[in-house]
């Protein structure tokens, strides 16, 4: 795969043609909220190509991750115009490795959504079909990678926000083990669930970027050193015994893929996951509870949106929050405040944490029966902007395959498995904590059998 990175390096050196290509796609898909390939952070070091797999590569950063000198809007009117004074640990590690952040990608406001349509600052289209959404909340990061504007991008995954848009856009999307990548610099939505993840065009690059950004960080006391067990090949793949509710196209690709995996020599083991139907409830209870506190800091006083007129501090805070947040964010803040209220906390928040424990136990059991666990990433392919059947409630219910990994902290990878009606279908493979290696192994072998389709109009060899 080194060939791809080399061609990227050559390509991005031709600054003018690179910018022209990226901008042409940008006009179609709106992946970025800010795009500045010439921006050169002071700390960028010249790293020889041989010394770092990302040397010389441009990359996109979801706009809820801090990069000094770039905007940090989180897709919200609340933070429109805010420039970050500091850089996230994960981004700094990439810069230190010689990679170059070129822009901030669009997202659902504060990471809340599955379509990127909840962004208050821009509209992002799916490069495969611009009438459709790129997924979310890291929709911009998925779209810019799929369109070849950058070879990789960082996203954040709180309940599937890297994996689902990766599936919708036909790229790889890694949600690492919780804590293995520092959250320092990631605008918090749900602190105990989320992690910075990688979206990339190849398994190899996904792995390289992950290897660079992981590690314990003094600025994040929940960060961890990755300590995988002894390497051994993946043999058994766990799959759900009763899997229903998939869109026909997704179902077809899923079945075909199971056959492919069997052909590749894997043993498929049917497993039961009785807690799956409660995962979405537990997830949204915990996520919104944490969000209600995490988003309390946005009050228009120290930075961000300041209302034209306010009589007193309380008036100021309320006006800033009322004007600054969109509907989905307000809904989740209300929900989260409610489930934490005294009188409701035990029934909802504490119960959800116990259900979370139950789900973790289910997965512990599954990983005694199988080396990895496989499912579709999302029940549908990319849906159309404004699709009335995909209400925000329906979108939440559809997160059921992805949220489990956030509740357990385990790693997950969405990989392109094929097309349904010309749209990418992603499958998700999950592994025990720290066993990202197993995910890369399965995705790599699958790609040898079924190479991922390139998005029409993009070029992977960059000879244009």
């Amino acid at each position: 795969m080194a060939k791809l990175e080399d061609s990227w390096r050559r390509f991005s050196e031709k600054a003018a043609s690179y910018t022209a290509y990226a901008k042409a796609w940008e006009a179609k898909i709106g992946a970025f909220l800010s795009f500045n390939p010439q921006h050169n952070p002071a700390s960028t070091s010249a790293v020889p190509a041989g010394q770092s797999p990302v040397a010389g590569l441009p990359f996109g950063v979801k706009d809820n991750i801090a990069v000094a000198g770039f905007p940090l809007t989180c897709g919200s009117k609340m933070l429109e115009g805010l420039t970050s004074p500091y850089t996230a640990t994960a981004v700094q590690k990439l810069i230190d490795g010689g990679a170059r952040p070129v822009g901030k990608t669009n997202l659902d406001e504060f990471g809340m959504g599955s379509s990127t349509d909840n962004s208050a600052l821009g509209k992002t289209n799916n490069p495969w079909d611009v009438t459709r959404v790129a997924g979310g909340s890291s929709g911009g990061s998925a779209a810019c990678v799929a369109a070849g504007q950058v070879p990789f991008a960082l996203g954040s995954d709180t309940g599937g926000s890297v994996r689902q848009p990766a599936a919708f856009c036909g790229v790889y999307g890694l949600k690492p083990t919780y804590g293995t990548v520092s959250r320092f610099g990631l605008t918090a939505y749900a602190s105990s669930l989320e992690v910075i993840g990688v979206l990339a065009t190849t398994v190899g690059l996904t792995r390289s970027v992950y290897d660079l950004i992981k590690g314990e960080d003094g600025n994040d006391q929940t960060s961890l050193k990755s300590e995988p067990g002894p390497a051994r090949p993946v043999r058994k793949i766990g799959i759900l015994k009763n899997l229903t509710g998939l869109a026909p196209g997704v179902e077809a690709v899923y079945r075909e893929s199971l056959a492919t995996l069997k052909k590749l020599g894997y043993t498929l083991v049917e497993v039961e996951l009785p807690t799956l139907e409660y995962a979405v409830s537990a997830y949204y209870t915990i996520a919104t509870a944490e969000a209600s506190a995490n988003l309390a800091r946005f009050n228009g006083i120290r930075y961000g949106l300041r209302p034209e007129y306010a009589e007193n501090p309380e008036d100021l805070i309320r006006k800033a929050r009322t004007a600054g947040f969109g509907d989905e964010v307000k809904t989740r803040i209300l929900l989260g405040s409610y489930v934490l209220r005294s009188g409701f906390q035990d029934q909802f928040y504490t119960k959800a944490q116990k259900v979370r424990t139950a789900i973790r136990r289910d997965f512990d059991r599954i990983f005694e029966e199988a080396d990895v666990f496989l499912s579709p990433t999302f029940p549908t392919t990319a849906f159309a902007h404004g699709d009335t059947t995909m209400t925000s409630f329906q979108q939440k219910l559809a997160d059921k395959f992805t949220v489990t990994a956030n509740l357990t902290g385990q790693p997950g990878l969405s990989f392109p498995a094929g097309l349904a009606d010309g749209l990418p279908v992603g499958l998700q493979v999950l592994a025990p904590v720290f066993e990202e290696g197993r995910l890369f192994e399965v995705a790599d072998r699958f790609a040898e059998a079924v190479p991922p389709a390139a998005c029409p109009g993009t070029s992977l060899d960059w000879s244009l």
Partner: protein, 96 residues
């Protein structure tokens, strides 16, 4: 669907969250909040007797940092981002 949250509960919640809602918004957002809360009620079905709540994804060893001062090099940069300043104070309106 059982309507388990009345408007008053929503108003108290919005007050706690410092968000002002018009009656129309209260209705619109309230519908979804109520829908979600009803959905959350499903969790009752899970037998969680004897299970400890998971409060943190993973807890390894204690994490502390040494008590050493690092100069605040970003203080000025942060102040530049404040909407209103006077001397080095961040100013907010307060008409008593």
């Amino acid at each position: 669907m059982k309507h388990i949250m009345d408007i008053r509960e929503l108003e108290i919640t919005a007050e706690l969250a410092q968000i002002a809602l018009t009656p129309v918004e209260l209705e619109r957002l309230g519908r979804e909040v109520t829908q979600m809360v009803s959905y959350f009620e499903k969790m009752k079905e899970v037998d969680t007797d004897g299970l400890e709540p998971t409060t943190h994804a993973f807890v390894k060893a204690n994490r502390v940092r040494p008590d050493a001062v690092k100069p605040s090099t970003l203080a000025d940069a942060a102040l530049e981002r404040a909407p209103e300043l006077e001397d080095r104070f961040i100013v907010i309106p307060n008409v008593l």
